[in-house]
Amino acid sequence: MPIKKLLQALILPALLFCCFSSFAQNKTITGKITDTQGVGLSNATVSLKNSTIGTTTATDGTFSLSVPADATTLVISSVGFAPQEIDITSITNIAVTLSTNTATMDEVVVVAYGTRRKGDLTGAVTSITPDDFQKGQIASSEQLLVGKVAGLQITNGGGSAGGGSKIRIRGGASLNASNDPLIVVDGVPVESNGISGSGNLLSTINPNDIESMSVLKDASATALYGSRASNGVIIITTKKGSRGKVKFNFNTQFSMGEVPEFVDVLTGDEIRQLINEDAAATGNNTYKNLLGTANTNWQEAIYQKAYGTDNNISASGSIGMVPFRASVGYSDQDGVLKTNNFKRTTGALNLNPKFFNDHLSVNVALKLSQTRHRWANEGAVGNAVTFDPTKPIYESNKYGGYYEWLQTGSNNLPIDLSNRNPLALLELRDNTSRVNRFIGNVQLDYKLHFFPDLHVLLNVGVDDANGKGDDKIDSVAATNYRTRGRFSHYAQVKENTLVDVSLFYDKNLPTLNSKIDFLVGHSYQEFVTKVYNYAQYGRDRLVIPTSIPNFAWDKPEYRLESYFGRANINIDQKYLLTATLRRDASSKFSPENRVGYFPSLAFAWRLKEELFKTSRAVTDLKLRLGWGVTGQQDGIGYYSYLPRYTLSSPAAQYQFGNNFYNFIRPEGYDPSIKWETTTTQNIGLDFAFIQNRISGAVDVYQKKTEDLLSEVPVAPGANFVNKIVTNVGNIENKGIEISLNTVPVRNENFNWELGFNFTYNETEITNLLKNEDPDFRGIPVSGISGGTGNTIGIFAIGYAPYTFDVFKQVYDPATGRPIEGLYEDINRDGQIDEADRYFYKKPAPDFLLGASTQINYKDFSLGAAGHGMFGNYQYNNYFSNNGVIRAVKNPINFIGNASRNYLESGMENNQYLTDYYIENASFFRIDNINLGYNVGKIFRDAASMRITASVQNVAVFTKYKGLDPEISSDQGIDNNIYPRPRTYAIGFNLDF
C-alpha cells in the first residue's frame, strides 16, 4: 500500500520531467572560492542569479560553470558564510573570498515543517553540519553528534558492531514511556522503536549522506510535532543535488579496532594459590580437587582485532533540468568480540527539480539500505571474566571439544547452573540477521500561479523496514544440551506511512517593515507492525514443544491524525514572534481521551539591531523566550485502553480430567489512559562577538511533565494487574546549556578553532501517587544481576529517577575495608532491615561537557573531540557479583574467577545492596584525534584528494574502578559491558 502511494506521487514529477529541454549559447565561468584565510571552500554553491543554473565547488574551492552568454550575475553561497553576488558581464574567471562575518545569522537551519534563517530562530535549535561531525569510523548516524550539542547525551551501548545508542535531549521527561527523541529524516518521522534483527535503526542511514542534523530542544521548537515531541526532536536532512556538471566523490576508509583494556581478574596461578591455601586451612579439599593446571586468559581468547572498511561513492549535479544526488555506500565492520560482524549497503537518490518557472518544487528522497549482522553471543563477555583460568580452552569431550564443567558421576552432563566456556558460546552459535529498510518521500511545494504568496505543500512518505534472522546453536553446545542445539527463526515487518498536506503563506509587508508567514496543515500517519512467530527446533530438527506459538503472526498498529498551524511574525528585523498549535488524535487512547492540543509561543528580540547596531565588537545578540506544551505517547501499548482477553501458551494449561485446557485470561487495562504532557519554558541568548571569533548560546530551561505514564502499583483487586501504566505523577527537569565557539587564532595560513558545550541538568520526580500516603517510600526499580529479583534503584518523590536505594556500608577503621554484612542502622530501631535502606546518588549526570578543537595549517588539519559526564554514579554489578570468594569457590561445586576487587574488599558472600558498590562514574573521554592533509590536484588535475587518519576512543579519564564508566542504561547498572574498541582509521577522499 505505501509503496503504491509513493509511486503515484512519483509519476507526476516524472511526467513533467519529460516535457522539458533547454538550448542556448553559452560561456564558461571558472574560478576559486576561498574563505578569509584563503582556504578553498568545498561544496559552495555557485549559481546564476534568477535561474536554475548552478554548480558546487570541489574540495579545493574551484568550480567551472557554463552559463548563457548574456548572463550577468553569479550568486556564491556556502553554509556558514555570507552570500555574495559577482558581476560576470565581462569576466570569465573569478576569485571570491566569502566572509563569515555575519554569516551564521543567514545560515539556513532545518526546523519542524520547514527551514529558517538562523537569525530568525525563536526556539532552542542546534544545527550541526558535516564540518562539525565526529570524525573517524562512524557506523551509525547518531554517533556523529556525540559531545557536539549542549543538552544532548548520546551513549552507545558498548562496542558491538552495529549496536545502538541511548539518546537523551535535556534528560528524560518520562519514567515508563519512551525517553527517546523523535527522529525525522527528510520530513518523515521514522521508526525509532527498532525492529527484530537490528541493533539500531539509525545505523541504516549512511552517515556520509547526511547534510545536517538539527536538534530541537525546547517546546517552541518541537511543539509542531505535538504528542511525540516531549523528548525533543532530531531532524536529519540528507544531501541534495545541486545544479551543474555532474561531479563525483569517492571516499574510502580502513580501520582496525582493538580492546584497549581487559577486566582485571585473577590469574590461574593466583586461583591455585588461593584454593590451596584455603584447603590447607580448612582441611576441605573439595575445590582443590577441581583445580586445573592451565593459565588461560579467557578475555584474550574471546577478543580479536576488528578490521573494517567503509566505501562511499556519490554523484551530484544535474541531468537536464533535474538536479540530483545519488550515492552508494558499503561498509563492513568486524566487532572486537569474535564472530561479531556488521555489514551495510546503502543507496540514496535525491531529485529536486523545479517546474513552471519555479512555481513547483519537487523533492524526491529515496534511501534504501540493507544491514546484515552476525551477532556475537555477548554472554561470552561475562563468562570470560568468571570462567576458571586454571582450565584449558579445549578438552576432549562431546561438547565440541571446548572445556566445560560437568556434573560429577558418569552422565557427563554439564552442571546446569555453572558458567560456560566463553569461546564455545561464541563459536558454537551462529546468529545472523538481515534488515532491509526503505525510507522514501516526495515533497511538492507548489506556489499558486494566481496567488504566489500561497504555497501548497504535500509530503508523502513511507518508512518500511523488514527484519529477519536465524539463530543457530550448534547441536554439541553445552548451553542447549537438553535439546541438542536450537534453531530459531524470526521475522518482523514495519510499515509506516505519512501523508502531510499543508498551506504556507508568506508575505513581506514593506510598509510596516514586517514579514509574516503562516502554515496550516493536516497530517496522517499509520504505524503497522507485523510480527511472525515461529516454533524453535532442537535435536534433529524436532520441534521444541513449549516454543510452539499460539498465533502464526500478529499485527499491532496505531494511527495518528493531526492538524497543525504556525504563524511567524518578524517586525522590523527586531522582534520575532512564533506561535504554533497542533491537534493530535491517537488510536492508542479511547475516543474520549484521544485528542490533545499542543500549543507553543516564542518571542525573540534581536538586541543587536536594537542596542548594538553600530557596535563592531557585538556581531550579534538575540534574546529568546519560549513556552510550549508537548506530549508523549511512545513506549506504551497500542491497545492499553481496551478490555482484552488473551490465550495462554501451550506450557500454561490446566488439567481437568484427562484433558488440558489453555487459559483465557482477562488483561489489565486503563480505560482513561491518555498522553503525558510536558510544559517547557526556555530563555535563551544567542551571541557573537568580534566578527564571530566568539559565538555561542546560553539556554535556561524548565520542563514540567504531568500525567506521567508511570507504571504504578494498583490497589489489589481494582484491576486484573497489580501494576499498570497509567497517568499519574509529575517530573521536573531544569537545566542550563552553554555552547561556546571560539577562534583564538585566525590568519592566512593558520586557523585554530576551539568549541565547548556545557550542560547542567537536574531531574526530579515531584509526584507519583494518586492518593496521598505519608509512608510512601517509592517504587523499586533497576533489577540487578545476582540473587533473584534484587533491585538497586527507586522512583521516589523528591529524587531523580533511578536514585540508588542501598544500605550504608560500615567500614573497619583499621583496614578501611568494608565489614561484610554490617550496615548502618539508619532508622535507629536496633535492627538492620529493609527500613534501613537509604537513597544515595543517582545514575544520571549533573553535567555534560563536550569539547572540540580544529587546527588548520596550510593543507594540514588536526582535530580532536571529547566529551564527559560528571556527577553520574554507577552500581558496579560486576564487583558485587564477582568481587567475592564465593565467585571462586562456587557453592554449586565448580571454580570460577573473581574480580581483583575481592582482594580489596575481602567479601566472602555477595552483598548486593551495599553502597560500597555505588561508584562515582564521572569521566572525560577523548573521542577522537584526527589528522588531514589536502593533497590537492592529482591525475593531471582531474581529481583532488584528501587523506585522513584518526584514532577513536583515545583515552578515558575517570576514577571509576570498573572497565568503562560510560554505560547506556538509565538504571546505572554496570555489568559486563561489551568493551568499546580503540579504533585506528585511515581514509582517502577523492573529488572528480
Partner: protein, 542 residues
C-alpha cells in the same frame, strides 16, 4: 494549457489524499486478542477462563514456565506463584524449612524480620486477590442473564452453573489464605467492577463469616464427593475447608468452633475417601492416582503446566548435586531449602526404615545428628535434606517432560489424614459430637500406614489412649503433613510460633532460637498496597 491541466490534477490529488486520510478510523482492535464479548461467546470460552481460575494456583502467567506474568514487577518464579509463595510463608518461618539463598529478603522469613516492604509478601498478597478478581469477572459473565443473552443453554448452561459453585469455592479458598496469613483483607465480590472504585477492606472475623457462609451456600450446588472429573472441586473440598477454618476459628475470630470442626471433618471422612497404602507415592509424579486420599489437588504437568513456582520448585529447591534422586535432570538442583533438626527430632527413626514418612536420606546427605546441624544457614549442605517430592513415577513410566525439569506432581491441598487430625484435635480441645475412641483410631490409621501398613517392630507405632494429647497431635501433624503448607498455621494455633514455648534452630535469626514479637503471627499489609488503596489499614505492630 498543459500546465493548467496538471495544476488541476494536482489540486484534486491533494484533495483526494486528504479526504481519504480523514475517513480512516482511529478505532483499532488487536488481531489475536479477544474482547470480553468474543471471549465468552462459547462454552469453550468459559472453560478457558475457568482453566485460568484453577491455573492461577499452579501457573504464574500466560506463558509456561515464565512470561506474561499475572503479577507484575515481582520475580515471577519466586514471588508471584501461589504454591511457592504459600510454602515460603507457611514453612520458612517454622522449624520445617530454612533456605540458603540471598534473594532479596528471603532470609527474613526464618529470622522473623520481615517488613511491610517485603517483595515476597507483596506477591503473596497479590496472588489470592488476583485469583479472586478473575473469579469475580467469571461470576459476572456467568450470570443467567448473560448466558441467555449469548444463547448458551441446556447442558452447556448447566455445566457453567456447576462451575459457578466451584469458583465460589475457589474464592473462599483464596480468601482463607488471606485470612490466615494477613488477617484482614482487601474485599471484592462480583459486585465490584474493574477500574471504577477502590476496593474496601474486611476484618478477619467478618471474613471468617463470609467464607463460612459462602461454603455453606454452595455445599449443595457442588458435585458429590469424588463424582466430578479429576482436578475439579466437589463437596469434599468445601467440607474440608470448613473443617480447617473451624479448627482455627479461635485464632480467626476469638470464638472456637471445635464442634463444627468435628462435624465437617467427619463429613469428609465418611464420604468414602481412603488412605493409600504407600505414603511416599502421594508426592510422586503420578500422584493423581491417589484421588482416594487427596481431596483437592492443584494439578501440575511437566509439559503443559510449567512454572518455577509450582511443585517444580520443590524438586529443584530441595536438591543439590543429588537432584537425580528427585527426578531432576534439566535445570539441576538449586541447593536451597532444607529443614532444621527440630523436624528430624520429631521422628524416632529419621532413616525412614520404620516410619516411612521420614523422607530425608539422599546419596549426598545423611540424617545423623551432626549432619542435621546448621552452623551456617546459607550453606546448603547444613541441615536436614527433605526428599518428599520427587518427579518420578511410582509405576516407573516416563514423566511428561523429557528433559525432566518440570514436575508432574500434583500439590495436595487437602488430604484425608488432615481430617483425621482435625477430628482428633477438636475432640481433645473439647468439641462435642466427637468420640475419643474414634479419634484414637483415626490417629492410629495414620500411624499404621506410616509404618508400612503395620505398627512397626513391636508395634512401636501404635498409640494408646494414654498417648493422645494436644502436643502429640501437633507433632503428628508435623510428621504427616510437613512441607505441605500447614506448619505456621498449626504453630499459631498452639501459640508456639513466636513464643519461647518452642524454639528451633535459627528461629528469630539466633542459632539456638529465640522468642520473637507476637506481631509476626500475622504478615503485614504490603506498604505498596497501602499507598495504592487508602481503604486498607496496617496490621498491629508493623
Amino acid at each position: 494549457m498543459k500546465s493548467r491541466t496538471i495544476k488541476h490534477l494536482f489540486i484534486i490529488g491533494i484533495a483526494v489524499i486528504s479526504l481519504a486520510s480523514c475517513a480512516k478510523r482511529l478505532d483499532l482492535y488487536p488481531v489475536n486478542d479477544l474482547t470480553p464479548a468474543t471471549a465468552f461467546s462459547t462454552p469453550e470460552g468459559y472453560r478457558g477462563v475457568l482453566a485460568k481460575i484453577y491455573g492461577g494456583l499452579s501457573s504464574t502467567g500466560n506463558q509456561g514456565p515464565a512470561g506474561a506474568s499475572d503479577i507484575q514487577g515481582l520475580d515471577e518464579g519466586s514471588q508471584s506463584p501461589f504454591i511457592r509463595g504459600f510454602f515460603n510463608h507457611q514453612e520458612l518461618p517454622t522449624d520445617e524449612a530454612v533456605v540458603s539463598w540471598n534473594d532479596q529478603t528471603i532470609q527474613n522469613f526464618h529470622n522473623f524480620r520481615w517488613t511491610s516492604s517485603d517483595p515476597f509478601i507483596l506477591g503473596m498478597y497479590a496472588r489470592p486477590i488476583y485469583n479472586i478478581t478473575v473469579i469475580n469477572e467469571y461470576l459476572r459473565e456467568a450470570a443467567d442473564a448473560k448466558l441467555a443473552e449469548r444463547g448458551i443453554t441446556g447442558s452447556d448452561a448447566t455445566a457453567i452453573k456447576t462451575s459457578v459453585a466451584e469458583v465460589r469455592f475457589l474464592r473462599a479458598f483464596n480468601y482463607w489464605v488471606m485470612m490466615d496469613l494477613f488477617g484482614k483483607s482487601t474485599f471484592i465480590t462480583e459486585e465490584n467492577l474493574i477500574g471504577t472504585e477502590l476496593p474496601g477492606q474486611i476484618e478477619r472475623a467478618e471474613l471468617f463469616n463470609y467464607i463460612e457462609q459462602e461454603l455453606k451456600a454452595i455445599e449443595t450446588e457442588l458435585a458429590a464427593p469424588r463424582s466430578s472429573e479429576y482436578g475439579r472441586v466437589d463437596q469434599g473440598s468445601a467440607w474440608a475447608l470448613l473443617a480447617r477454618i473451624y479448627l482455627n476459628a479461635g485464632v480467626y475470630t476469638g470464638t472456637p468452633k471445635y464442634t463444627e470442626a468435628i462435624t465437617y471433618a467427619k463429613k469428609v471422612i465418611d464420604a468414602g475417601y481412603t488412605l493409600s497404602a504407600n505414603y511416599e507415592e502421594l508426592f510422586m509424579a503420578d500422584n493423581h492416582k491417589h484421588s482416594n486420599e487427596i481431596i483437592f489437588p492443584i494439578t501440575n504437568d511437566g509439559l503443559r503446566t510449567q512454572s518455577f513456582g509450582n511443585t517444580t520448585f520443590f524438586i529443584h529447591a530441595a536438591s543439590g548435586d543429588d537432584h537425580g534422586e528427585y527426578g531432576v535432570v534439566g535445570g539441576g538442583g538449586w541447593s536451597g531449602y532444607r529443614a532444621t533438626s527440630a523436624l528430624g527430632l520429631k521422628f524416632e527413626d529419621r532413616t525412614g526404615a520404620t516410619d516411612k514418612r521420614a523422607l530425608f536420606t539422599t546419596s549426598k546427605f545423611g540424617t545423623s545428628d551432626a549432619q542435621m546441624q546448621i552452623p551456617d544457614v546459607t550453606v546448603f549442605a547444613n541441615g536436614l535434606h527433605v526428599r518428599k517430592y520427587r518427579n518420578i513415577r511410582s509405576d516407573g513410566g516416563p514423566v511428561s517432560d523429557v528433559n525432566r525439569e518440570f514436575s508432574d506432581i500434583d500439590f495436595p491441598v487437602f488430604r484425608l489424614p488432615e481430617m483425621y487430625l482435625i477430628y482428633a484435635e477438636a475432640v481433645l480441645r473439647g468439641g462435642s459430637g466427637g468420640d475419643a475412641g474414634l479419634a484414637l483410631e483415626y490417629m492410629n490409621r495414620i500411624r499404621f500406614r506410616a509404618y508400612g501398613n503395620s505398627y512397626g517392630p513391636g508395634d512401636v507405632g501404635r498409640l494408646t489412649s494414654g498417648d493422645l494429647n494436644l502436643q502429640l497431635v501437633l507433632d503428628e501433624r508435623a510428621r504427616e503433613l510437613y512441607w505441605e503448607g500447614h506448619r505456621r498455621t498449626d504453630l499459631v494455633r498452639y501459640d508456639q510460633l513466636t513464643t519461647s514455648t518452642y524454639l528451633w534452630p535459627w528461629k528469630g535469626g539466633v542459632s539456638s532460637g529465640t522468642a520473637v514479637d507476637p506481631k509476626y503471627k500475622l504478615y503485614p499489609i504490603p506498604s505498596a498496597n497501602l499507598s495504592a488503596n487508602p481503604n486498607l489499614t496496617q496490621n498491629q505492630g508493623y
